[in-house]
């Protein structure tokens, strides 16, 4: 269909009900003389029609099963939920200080840190005086002992989480009022970054509180969290990160398809699409 590319675009717009009348007339005139385009349109329209109309009725078992699961879940939740140790996590997860707001990133973070900051053009070695070894409660000793297995442990501090959240909010503000400047952004006090439009500094610290890197914007951080390589590991998903918030450990791993997998300790994996950071935060807030 050489030369038909623009008509193909119009075919898709027509299927979306989004083609201006005069363009539709032009497309239909073209299709009258172009069997290839007509065939493409007819096949695609037929497929779209089937997708729209070929709907199955959900079996009654669906809702029944969900509500049974819900009931069982609530019955179990009536009692205090025990912290369930999970074998595949224990090996590497430097868990869970109960009141800890620190976010701990474990594993192969450093190579990606560099990648992330390079992508964003941020100076990774700009030191930011963000505090923060991750906080320890009485479980902390054990957690620390376990984390010794890990080659590198990097923590995102509480301020960073705020920065992430504020960054997300700032984006909305940016979208709504067109102003790029952020007020009250975590960048103001967390990192000495240029207050560029939408920019927030994320300080990554190691467990001793030493700054490992400063990442300039949310996209770079999201890219970092997405990760682009999978850490070697025998499990279904090689864990890349552990996030500990309010005593709950969240585990993140690359899903191998451009997204993130995460799960709460003891639960099954949940797949997140790329750029899942705000979604993750929404779920764990």
């Amino acid at each position: 269909m050489a030369g038909c590319e623009r008509y193909e675009e119009m075919i898709w717009a027509l299927l979306d009900g989004d083609l201006a009348p005069e363009q539709e007339a032009a497309l239909r005139a073209h299709m009258d003389g172009c069997p290839d385009c007509r065939a493409l349109y007819e096949a695609a329209a037929a497929a779209a029609g089937v997708l729209r109309e070929d709907l199955a009725e959900p079996p009654a078992a669906l809702a029944e099963g969900v509500m049974a699961q819900v009931a069982a879940y609530e019955a179990e939740r009536g009692e205090p939920r025990p912290v369930r140790p999970v074998k595949r996590l224990r090996r590497w997860l430097p868990v869970a200080a109960a009141a800890c707001l620190a976010v701990v990133i474990v594993g192969v973070a450093l190579p990606r840190l560099k990648m992330g900051s390079a992508r964003s053009g941020a100076a990774a070695d700009t030191a930011a005086p963000q505090a923060a070894p991750y906080a320890m409660d009485e479980d902390g000793g054990e957690a620390a002992a376990r984390s010794e297995d890990m080659p590198e442990t990097v923590s995102l501090t509480e301020g960073m989480m705020d920065a992430v959240v504020e960054s997300a909010e700032a984006e909305e503000n940016f979208a709504s009022d067109g102003e790029g400047a952020l007020s009250g952004s975590a960048a103001d006090d967390a990192a000495p970054m240029e207050p560029a439009a939408g920019a927030v500094g994320y300080t990554l610290c190691d467990p001793d509180g030493n700054t490992v890197a400063v990442i300039s914007d949310r996209e770079a951080l999201a890219g970092l969290l997405r990760g682009e390589t999978i850490a070697a590991g025998p499990e279904d998903f090689a864990p890349l990160y552990a996030l500990t918030l309010d005593g709950t450990a969240y585990v993140l791993a690359d899903d191998g398809a451009g997204g993130l997998v995460w799960w709460i300790e003891g639960d099954d994996a949940v797949t997140l699409s790329p750029a899942p950071l705000s979604e993750l935060l929404a779920l764990i807030e």
Binding site: R38, L51, D54
Partner: protein, 209 residues
């Protein structure tokens, strides 16, 4: 269920009335189930995925902010569950994830009084189902969300975390590939007698059903 009723049901669930969740399930099970069915290609897997999606939604309901439609939020969870299942199935070939023919459903003609048309319709449906399964899961997801669930490109972008432009190009590619699958004929009209028709007709008409 209006959006207000939906919001009220969500509030009831959040305030401890777990049974109120059933109305939400009932209101959205069709969209969720059919999304899962077309993603996974099997009724049993679609049932499992739908239940898992609703249960996950229940557990994280307090994270639903109401910024997007509840249905869109559910579809995101459903899509994630499905992609998860597909990935696991890919890693474990012995998995039960296979495309089944949904024979019973297919046998029900929906065009009255015209057996030939009913047959074509049935064949077309089967071909579209098979063709969908030839798409990459992420592309299939985008296409289904658009054409089956009726989401806008922006909503799909939110579901998938992709740029709207990327969503568009994925959907266009998926449509092109699915159309090509239907046009290719071999797999399309493989239900027996109608095979002859493809020879009689010109290639340009093959997609017309």
């Amino acid at each position: 269920m209006t959006r207000q009723e939906e919001r009220a049901a969500i509030e009831r669930v959040l305030s401890g009335d777990a049974d109120a969740f059933e109305a939400l399930v009932k209101a959205h099970e069709k969209g969720v189930y059919n999304l899962a069915l077309r993603m996974l290609g099997s009724e049993q897997d679609a049932l499992d995925a739908s239940q898992e999606a609703f249960f996950r939604a229940y557990r994280s309901l307090d994270a639903f902010r109401g910024d997007s439609k509840f249905s869109v939020w559910l579809y995101r969870i459903t899509g994630n569950v499905c992609l998860d299942m597909l990935r696991r199935a890919g890693r474990r070939p012995e998995s039960s994830l296979t495309v089944d023919d949904e024979g019973g459903e297919m046998a029900v003609p929906d065009e009255s009084g015209d057996p030939q048309r009913a047959l074509e319709r049935t064949e077309l449906r089967a071909a579209v189902r098979r063709g969908l399964m030839t798409l990459e899961p992420a592309f299939r997801q985008a296409l289904i969300l658009r054409d089956l669930n009726g989401l806008t490109y922006d909503e799909i972008a939110r579901v998938t975390g992709l740029e709207a432009g990327t969503v568009k190009s994925r959907i266009f590619r998926a449509r092109r590939k699915l159309a090509a699958y239907l046009q290719s004929g071999g797999n399309f009209l493989d239900a027996g007698p109608s095979k002859d028709r493809t020879k009689e007709k010109g290639g340009g008409d093959r997609g017309r059903m």
